[in-house]
Symmetry: C2
Subunit: 500 residues, 2 copies
Amino acid sequence: MTARSYSPRDGTAIGVVEQTPLEETLAIVDRAVAAAATIADAAPIERRAWLDALADAVVSHGDELVRLADAETALGVPRLTAELARMADQLRFYGRVAEDGGYLGVTIDEATATTPRLVRLRGPLGPVAVFGSSNFPFGFGVLGNDTASALASGCPVMAKAHPAHVLTSLRLAEIARVALAEAGAPDGTHAVVVGRQAGVDLVSADGTRAVGFTGSQAGGLALWRIANERSEVIPVYAEMGTVNPIVLTEAGVAGIDQIARGFVESFTLGSGQFCTKPGLLFAPAGHGVARAVGDALEQAAPQPTMLTEAIAASVATGLDEMIAAGADVVARVAGPGVGWSADAAVLSAPIDALTPDSRLLEECFGAVAVVVEYSDATELEAGLHALHGSLAGAVFGSGEGDPDVARAVKLLANQVGRVSVGDWPTGVAWTWAQHHGGPWPATSDPRSTSVGAAALDRFVRPVTYQSVPDAALPLAARRAAASDNPWRIPRRIDGELVLP
Amino acid sequence: MTARSYSPRDGTAIGVVEQTPLEETLAIVDRAVAAAATIADAAPIERRAWLDALADAVVSHGDELVRLADAETALGVPRLTAELARMADQLRFYGRVAEDGGYLGVTIDEATATTPRLVRLRGPLGPVAVFGSSNFPFGFGVLGNDTASALASGCPVMAKAHPAHVLTSLRLAEIARVALAEAGAPDGTHAVVVGRQAGVDLVSADGTRAVGFTGSQAGGLALWRIANERSEVIPVYAEMGTVNPIVLTEAGVAGIDQIARGFVESFTLGSGQFCTKPGLLFAPAGHGVARAVGDALEQAAPQPTMLTEAIAASVATGLDEMIAAGADVVARVAGPGVGWSADAAVLSAPIDALTPDSRLLEECFGAVAVVVEYSDATELEAGLHALHGSLAGAVFGSGEGDPDVARAVKLLANQVGRVSVGDWPTGVAWTWAQHHGGPWPATSDPRSTSVGAAALDRFVRPVTYQSVPDAALPLAARRAAASDNPWRIPRRIDGELVLP
């Protein structure tokens, strides 16, 4: 069985690779299992060095990788050049988070007259299967956020190459193999498989201890179900596409021209292929907001080329379904008509079309957005409440004096993982405070994030050591005079946080 | 439909209560949903006051509660008096953890040239359904660890009365209703339902946002499956019974008499009805350890009275199944023969009987334990590796000089949530560093704990606020000069932990 890579710009095949047979996938899992203890025992500073080596390696192969990814994804050289730099920065960032050691959660209660000595810290789960996304071959690919945070937390990674950029995935994995070996990481630290069945085999394999996924709800929930059928169920952290609601306040309408242009720019970015694409705008009624957004789309006149033939087809189907669900077309711009072409569109819909199982509540992965008008605060609140969980949402108002902003922020915070004011949701910074998650079905675990420092927390599990002598404790938790806090990490001792 | 309460000592019915019909369960959920925002907005110090009021109230009704619980459970007045004090202490402890505020995880990244200002903190999920256990009417009952940690984290609680102590559950809920109202908590902060179907209705209700469960694997996994079938899936934190392996090292055999007595005391405590009961002892071959444990059981001569008729029957069935799975009876002490009576027993089994689906790998909830002999370190490692995940495990050696202790600690840490050295696992302290959880199937989420400060983490979800003005942020995360850190909680600012 083979997998083909295509050029989205003209639909021609540009490469053929073998899918990974079951026995090879199982051998990859076995190598990861064999490497797991060594990686778990490596000090965070060592793992940081491995991640830095990966970052250096992808940067040094930057031109080649960008060219290859552009051929496979048509995302364009400027965007991919920036995304490659992002991938390298992310790898370095998660290494710094590992070295900080806060993620270990070291907590020590000394013995009292009635309680034994208890020492709690988190350790890596073991081999993690990573399913990167179609739309970010670098940022969320085989060396993207899930891989970097899993390695940082001490877990080997077995990644599945995405069919939208299988050649890029394989090249990244080969660069990683060489760089990790040179940096001293054990064989089995990172590997890649090809093909849908190989992905299923990874999730089903006994040795796999967790799954990270970025992509569609259909794909993420399918893996979640497979994991839940295992004899030993493992956590699946699926970050999935959502509608990402935007609220425009009454006072915010004053800035409608700029907001309409910004909205179009955000929802057509990367041909609308962002999991944080703003897909639904709540606008105050009676100001012609839908028309203004439609005009802005026609003026921008994007020419969406999609990542795969299936995604291009799903935009056409999605538009049909949304119109059948009660939406009207305000503006529709035809795609380039060659390769994986799709239309861009602005729709409008009455707010009472947002019924519980309406198609309008689901993502349309492409340059498509819906404007819904609300007549008062009660109607806005009911409209937001009708939505499913989303990754992100945003409020656009008239500034600090706008009384509706705080209220909309609070409403959105109930529905999403990230709320912004005056910023479009499509940019996702990788910093300590980032949360890229959200309530079901934005993610399969609403407490988890796939971007930001807390991404490591998904791949570790606490163990408490009771009355265990110092020499038998993991290094990070030792307190004997000669070995107290060897990694200089923050700890909570007898209930008090103590900085290193 | 009614539910009956029985005296385990003689099997007579001592009370009849109505099961909660669907419409009443849904009304309870509605009241919890209505209360959720008020509870979420209450400062941690307020919620601490509510928990302190609950602690005071149960202590002031202590004699009545202990008498009632003893009539329903036959656990004895001394044990139940201690457990009631524990319940009160737990309620106060989780209030202190809430006030500390570390669980909010406040993280602030100030804006840079390339990144926006990001503020991340955790907020409560909303109404939590709590299923307490049969064996701890106070510690893990309707006001036990799950309830206390959920309330501390800002979530209303809807508890199901356990059929083994339904009268005690209802009385606790009534005491809580009065105490919470007097302390100023909103109506809907805590309620109780009766009956198996009412429990299913709670998990299925739209307004329910999470589930805490303590009990059998069959019960916990049934609720987990129901939650996974919801249109909006919610997290289920099920803490379930396991075998809890003990390792006796070669050198540890020198202390066999004391260890055999301690083992019997631990596995017969509360008639063996502890989720942390040590059910499987790995002993070095050739020292007659099984015989020594059998002698200790015969000398102790426990007279197990079980919590329910079904539990008593399951001990008899479990013994038959374990014998059919290759175990031999070393010692068997008949129960009192009246009421919910069960035998106590020590079995022995060859280590190669621990095959993947052997009954010996599962809990027998009662005063039953199995001794397995290992001939060398390799056989011990393989035996431990064959086990399913457990809540706890322990190593007994000859002291700090015993080279096998550290090795066994490391092996057990891969399989359990808590490892102790020289302590039996049955005691579970409620402190900052406790972890009462473990790999599947000890829990449905191996990262979660139902005891200790981290128990709050189960019921909160992070939200990141991007470029949100201070006045629109949740109070806990504000930084303006007049309102900086109003709750005096630890924060991470620009990557650095900062103490209040």
